[in-house]
């Protein structure tokens, strides 16, 4: 297919489709029978107790882990297996980690420039311009020259978000982006994420921030022991959960439906 015919094709509505996804670690079943969809522009929040497989699902999504069964389609195409094609897929997905994983030997702006310059092959000048604009977007233009060690947790995570956005991804994957933060800096990161969602970014967010999920998500998926126990719009999950186990889980967090 040429670029021109590609451009004429309407972009598929479903960006990520999980069909009966299965993942094993040795004998341990980390995911089984997971089926869900992420539509373009949607924010999907994954919630559930610790060890229920949420991170594993994100890691499978950008091929940091391989599936042991089922299918995962990205823009209608199954995830490839060869390293070169996997890299192409990863370039179109941004990932934000619980403990930031900024590159400590690079300044904030160098971290953001890393993808465009190394992976996309943009010139120093182009990557810098892109990085500067993104640092403005996450409210950190004055910290461009700081090394990660000289940034607060919330600032580091915002740089990490900018670093992922610098690849101009179609989907952003967040793995508990605020779990390692001091309570007073959680808000600034969630605000950046909310702004991204309002811009129409497709997002898959693993989170324990139920208020955020309730307010921002279009679709909420509840995991337990490697399986989806319930999914639906936030109003259903938080106000009228169908499954007793969903209610139990939310109850443990102090949320009463």
């Amino acid at each position: 297919m040429t670029a021109a015919t590609l451009a004429m094709q309407p972009a598929p509505r479903v960006v990520l489709q999980y069909r009966d996804v299965r993942k094993l670690y040795g004998d341990f079943v980390a995911l089984s029978g997971v089926s869900m969809e992420v539509e373009r522009g949607q924010v999907v929040c994954l919630i559930g107790p610790s060890g229920s497989g949420k991170s594993t699902l994100l890691r499978c999504t950008n091929a940091l882990e391989t599936l042991d069964g089922g299918e995962l389609l990205f823009d209608g195409v199954p995830l490839p297996r060869d390293p070169a094609s996997i890299r192409k897929v990863r370039q179109r997905m941004g990932m934000v980690f619980q403990n930031f994983e900024l590159f400590p030997h690079k300044t904030a702006i160098q971290n953001v420039m890393m993808g465009p310059s190394t992976v996309l092959g943009l010139s120093e000048q182009q990557s810098r311009a892109r990085a500067e604009a993104l640092l403005v977007k996450v409210g950190l233009s004055d910290k461009a020259g700081n090394y990660p060690a000289n940034l607060s947790g919330g600032q580091q995570q915002r740089v990490a978000i900018a670093r992922a956005l610098a690849m101009e991804p179609e989907v952003m994957l967040f793995d508990e982006p605020t779990s390692a933060l001091d309570p007073e800096t959680i808000g600034e990161v969630l605000n950046v994420m909310k702004a991204l969602a309002d811009d129409g970014m497709t997002m898959v967010v693993v989170t324990h921030e139920m208020t955020f999920a309730r307010r921002v998500a279009d679709h909420v998926v509840v995991f337990e022991s490697g399986q989806i126990i319930e999914q639906g719009p936030p109003a259903q999950i938080f106000d009228a959960p169908i499954q007793a186990r969903t209610r139990d889980f939310l109850g443990h967090l102090g949320w009463d439906a």
């Binding site: 940091l64 990863r90 992976v119």
Partner: protein, 219 residues
């Protein structure tokens, strides 16, 4: 005792030449043993079992042999294996490089292992290849961690170069011993030799200390 210190200014030229050769041996050995050390460290992590095993054998062999034995070994074995005679300098350089490559590879291996897996994953998630992630993200961080160890290795190596004097490399130790046996000025020459090694070695040790302080306790 009757000491004649005039032997020292009289042999100043020869001693200076010896000192230069000692310095050249140290610098060249490190220039070879650092990249080779990184290479061997990567081979040891290779997914190809025989490759990894071979690299491990190399390290365990040369790390556990006395350097002086490797020096003699290179002196007698290299001409047989390659069919030509190498100069004592090259022979000494090879022996020191084998030993230091083995040491450096262990240094780099532990440095590389100390970098969190998440760093590689963050690089891969950006779309980098494994090789780019290693070169751009892991290696630069590992460098800072191993620098103090490399500095210590350097200081030790500077002194250990004297071991190649047994195969008549014209280094400082060999030169001083030659003059001693020709002039019978034993005490004078040993004292001069000690003074020169110390004067050259002390600043290096201080720099190594500084590197330890600057890079030793990051994170």
């Amino acid at each position: 005792m009757n000491l004649d210190w005039t032997i020292i200014p009289a042999s100043a030229g020869a001693l200076a030449r010896g000192a230069l050769i000692t310095i050249a041996l140290t610098v060249l050995t490190m220039a070879i043993a650092v990249p080779c050390g990184i290479g061997v460290a990567m081979l040891r992590e290779s997914r190809l079992r025989p490759v990894a095993l071979l690299a491990t054998c190399f390290v365990e062999l040369f790390r556990n042999l006395p350097i002086i034995l490797v020096v003699y070994w290179a002196f007698y074995v290299m001409p047989v294996v390659f069919g030509i005679a190498f100069s004592p300098f090259i022979t000494g350089l090879v022996a020191l490089s084998l030993n230091n490559t083995a040491y450096n590879s262990e240094t780099f291996r532990s440095g590389i292992k100390s970098i969190r897996k998440g760093q590689t994953e963050a690089a891969l998630a950006l779309g980098m290849s494994e090789a780019q992630a290693f070169r751009k993200i892991v290696l630069p961080q590992a460098w800072r961690r191993v620098l103090p160890v490399l500095a210590t290795t350097w200081v030790t190596l500077f002194k250990d170069t004297s071991l190649v004097s047994v195969i008549a490399v014209g280094d400082l130790a060999h030169t001083a011993m030659q003059i001693r046996s020709q002039s019978f000025r034993v005490i004078e020459m040993l004292t001069a030799m000690a003074a020169i090694y110390w004067l050259l070695g002390y600043p290096q040790a201080k720099i190594a200390d500084w590197i330890h302080k600057k890079f030793g306790v990051t994170e």
